[in-house]
C-alpha cells in the first residue's frame, strides 16, 4: 500500500478529541549541559546517572560528531587544538571535534525523583563559543541525505523585552506566498 494507514487531525478537526500529547510541564523533566561529571553531580546529586551519562556520551561522540576531511576545516568550526584524527574502522580517517561536555535529560516523577532511564548526548563547543549536540541520527524518513546534523544546545527559553514588531511580512499578499 502506498498510502498512509491512517490520517488523523488533532486541532483542525471539529470532532471532539482528547488531547493528551501535550502534557509536558516544565517540572516533568530535567535537562542540563555539563562540562564534567563533577559539575553534573553538583547540580543533580545523582552521581550514578552522571557517570553513566558521561560514559555513554563519550562512546557516542566519535560516531555522531561532524566529520571533516582535514584538521584545518575542523579547527575552523571548532577552534585550535579542539580536533582529533579519527578512523571509522574501514580505514577512512577523518577529523572531528573533541567532546567538551555532555547533555543529560531525564524524566522526573511527580515528587521530583528521577525516573528510570535518561538520555545523554555529547556536546561540542564551536569556535564562536556556542554549544552544539548531534541531532537525531539518520534513518527512517531521514536517510542521512543531510548527513550528521548538529543543533544548538538551548538552555531554558529566555525572555527579552520586545523593541518593535512587524519587521517581517511586508512582502506577503493576501493570496499567500506558497509555491
Amino acid at each position: 500500500m502506498k498510502r498512509s494507514r491512517t490520517a488523523a487531525l488533532l486541532l483542525m478537526s471539529t470532532a471532539p478529541l482528547l488531547l493528551t500529547a501535550c502534557d509536558r510541564s516544565e517540572s516533568a523533566s530535567r535537562e542540563g549541559l555539563y562540562t564534567s561529571v563533577e559539575a553534573c553531580v553538583a547540580q543533580t546529586n545523582d552521581s550514578n546517572t552522571c557517570q553513566q551519562a558521561f560514559a555513554k556520551a563519550q562512546q557516542d561522540a566519535v560516531a555522531t560528531a561532524p566529520r571533516f576531511a582535514n584538521r584545518e576545516a575542523c579547527e575552523a568550526s571548532y577552534g585550535k587544538e579542539k580536533c582529533a584524527e579519527r578512523n571509522d574502522g574501514a580505514s577512512h580517517s577523518f577529523f572531528g571535534p573533541l567532546m567538551t561536555g555532555f547533555f543529560l535529560s531525564q524524566m522526573m516523577s511527580r515528587n521530583g525523583a528521577a525516573m528510570n532511564g535518561f538520555n545523554s548526548t555529547p556536546a561540542f563547543r564551536d569556535s564562536n563559543g556556542g554549544w552544539q549536540r548531534p541531532a537525531t541520527g539518520a534513518g527512517g524518513v531521514y536517510r542521512g541525505g543531510a548527513g550528521t546534523a548538529m543543533v544548538p544546545v538551548n538552555a531554558t527559553p529566555n525572555r527579552a523585552v520586545t523593541a518593535s514588531r512587524s519587521g517581517f511580512g511586508t512582502s506577503g499578499s493576501s493570496r499567500g506566498i506558497g509555491g
Binding site: 500500500m1 502506498k2 498510502r3 498512509s4 494507514r5 490520517a7 488523523a8 487531525l9 488533532l10 486541532l11 483542525m12 478537526s13 471539529t14 470532532a15 500529547a21 501535550c22 509536558r24 561532524p66 568550526s77 538520555n119 549536540r133 541531532a135 537525531t136 527512517g140 524518513v141 531521514y142 536517510r143 542521512g144 541525505g145 543531510a146 548527513g147 550528521t148 546534523a149 548538529m150 543543533v151 544548538p152 538551548n154 527559553p157 529566555n158 525572555r159 527579552a160 523585552v161 520586545t162 523593541a163 518593535s164 514588531r165 512587524s166 519587521g167 517581517f168 511580512g169 511586508t170 512582502s171 506577503g172 499578499s173 493576501s174 493570496r175 499567500g176 506566498i177 506558497g178 509555491g179
Partner: protein, 393 residues
C-alpha cells in the same frame, strides 16, 4: 496515466468544513476539484515519479554542498552577501529540514521532467496529505473507485515521523508562523502544527507580522519570549530584504526550513543541476539567462517566481505566452520548453512531495493554461491497476 471523470462526494463541502479546509474555494473559484481524478499504474508511480524524486533530492542536497563553497554560485543565485556565511554555516551544521515539493511535467509516457524545486515554502500540503487521502477512502467505501485502488500518499505518516525525528533538536519555544490574512497559508501551517502536536511536540503559532525584535537582536513572540525555533511559511528571500532580516544571522533563531533552503528554492539550482548532470533524463536543459530575446523552445523564469508568475514561454511553433506578476526585475534562468500535455483541455502538473529525504506522495494541480498559476485546481489521484484485456487471437 488517465484522467477519469467521476461523481463528487455529495457531502464533501461539509467534510471540508469539519476538518478546517477553509480554502477549497478561493474568491468564488473552485480550488478543490473532485469532478475528475488521475489514474496511475503502480509502475508509473514507483518507476517514473517516486524513484526519480529521491534521486533528484539527493542530487539537490549534494549541490548545496557545492554552492556553499563557491562565491560564484552564491552570486549566480543572487544570495545577498550578508547572508552567505550564515547560509553556509547552516549547511555545515546540517540544520534540520522538513519538506519540499518537486514539480514535474509527466503524462505517463517518457520520463518525468523537473520544472522546479519548491523547497522553502511549498503549499497544497493539507490537500495532498489529508483531504486527498480522505477522498480515496470515501470513494472506495462508496464503490466509486475500483476495489483495491491505492494512492501515492504517505505524506501524513512521513510528516509525523519527521517531526518526531527532529523534535529533540528543535529549540524551544517552537512556533509556526504564516502571513496573518492568507487563509491558504494559515491552513497549511495549521496542518503542519497539527502533525507536530501528534508527534508530541509542544508548539505555538503566531502571525509572521507579530514577530518582535529585542534591543539585543533576538526574535520574540507576543509574550516577549525569545523564539527558539520558527517554522515560517514565508520566503527566505523576502525575509532577507525586510527590515528585521539583517538580525537573522546573529539572532540565534533556528529556522525551519533552514537557511540553506534558500539555495534550493531558487531557480538558479536548475542550471547548476543541468551543468553537473547534463543529459539526465529527468532534467531539462537550463542556463542562466543573459538577457536578450528568448529563442523558440525556451522558457524564462525569474529566480524567485512563485505561483507561475512572470513566466515567459516561447513555444516551438512560435507562440509566445507570458504571465504577469511581481517579479519583474532581477535575474532569471532559461529552461528548455517542455509543455505540459493536455488531458481533455486540462494541463496537470505533478507535485511530488519529499518529507525528510523520503519521496512520499503526490498532489496534482490542473490548469487550463500551459503555465500552472494560482488559478490551478487541485485534482485527486488514485493508483488503479489497468484492467487486463483478454487477448483473442
Amino acid at each position: 496515466m488517465r484522467r477519469v471523470a467521476t461523481a463528487e462526494r455529495p457531502d464533501w463541502r461539509a467534510k471540508a468544513a469539519a476538518c478546517g479546509f477553509g480554502f477549497h474555494t478561493i474568491d468564488d473559484a473552485p480550488y478543490w476539484d473532485e469532478s475528475a481524478y488521475y489514474a496511475f499504474s503502480l509502475r508509473e508511480i514507483e518507476v517514473d515519479i517516486e524513484a526519480p524524486s529521491e534521486e533528484l533530492h539527493a542530487m539537490a542536497l549534494d549541490m548545496v554542498g557545492r554552492i556553499v563553497g563557491s562565491e560564484q554560485h552564491m552570486q549566480q543565485l543572487a544570495i545577498p552577501e550578508p547572508y552567505r556565511d550564515w547560509i553556509a554555516q547552516s549547511w555545515r551544521e546540517r540544520q534540520p529540514h522538513l519538506y519540499g515539493r518537486m514539480d514535474f511535467a509527466y503524462d505517463g509516457t517518457g520520463p518525468a521532467k523537473l520544472y522546479e524545486l519548491n523547497y522553502d515554502t511549498p503549499t497544497s500540503l493539507f490537500e495532498a496529505a489529508f483531504f486527498q487521502w480522505q477522498w480515496l477512502e470515501d470513494q472506495l467505501a462508496r464503490g466509486q473507485l475500483p476495489a483495491g485502488s491505492d494512492q501515492f500518499n504517505s505524506i501524513y505518516e512521513s510528516l509525523v515521523e519527521a517531526f518526531g525525528t527532529i523534535a529533540r533538536g528543535i529549540a524551544r519555544p517552537f512556533h509556526f508562523a504564516a502571513v496573518r490574512d492568507s487563509v491558504e497559508d494559515q491552513g497549511t501551517v495549521a496542518y503542519l502544527r497539527d502533525c507536530a502536536l501528534q508527534a508530541g511536540i509542544d508548539c505555538g503559532a503566531l502571525a509572521i507580522e507579530d514577530i518582535g525584535i529585542s534591543a539585543d537582536g533576538r526574535f520574540t513572540d507576543l509574550d516577549d519570549q525569545v523564539i527558539g525555533c520558527l517554522f515560517k511559511l514565508y520566503p527566505l528571500e523576502d525575509m532577507f530584504r525586510e527590515s528585521f532580516g539583517e538580525h537573522l544571522p546573529r539572532s540565534g533563531l533556528q529556522l525551519i526550513e533552514p537557511p540553506w533552503k534558500a539555495l534550493l528554492s531558487n531557480k538558479g539550482i536548475l542550471p547548476l543541476l543541468w551543468d553537473a548532470h547534463r543529459g539526465h533524463p529527468n532534467l531539462l536543459p537550463a542556463e542562466f539567462d543573459g538577457g536578450g530575446a528568448l529563442p523558440r523552445g525556451w522558457v524564462r523564469k525569474p529566480l524567485h517566481s512563485r505561483e507561475g508568475a512572470n513566466i515567459a514561454m516561447h513555444l516551438d511553433d512560435g507562440r509566445e505566452l507570458r504571465t504577469d506578476g511581481p517579479y519583474r526585475d532581477g535575474p532569471c534562468i532559461r529552461q528548455a520548453c517542455h509543455p505540459l500535455t493536455g488531458f481533455d483541455g486540462h494541463y496537470p502538473l505533478i507535485g511530488s512531495w519529499v518529507v525528510g529525504d523520503r519521496a512520499c506522495g503526490i498532489g496534482i494541480r490542473e490548469d487550463s493554461s500551459l503555465v500552472t498559476q494560482d488559478s490551478a485546481r487541485f485534482v485527486p489521484h488514485a493508483i488503479v491497476e489497468e484492467a487486463r484485456g483478454v487477448l483473442i487471437a
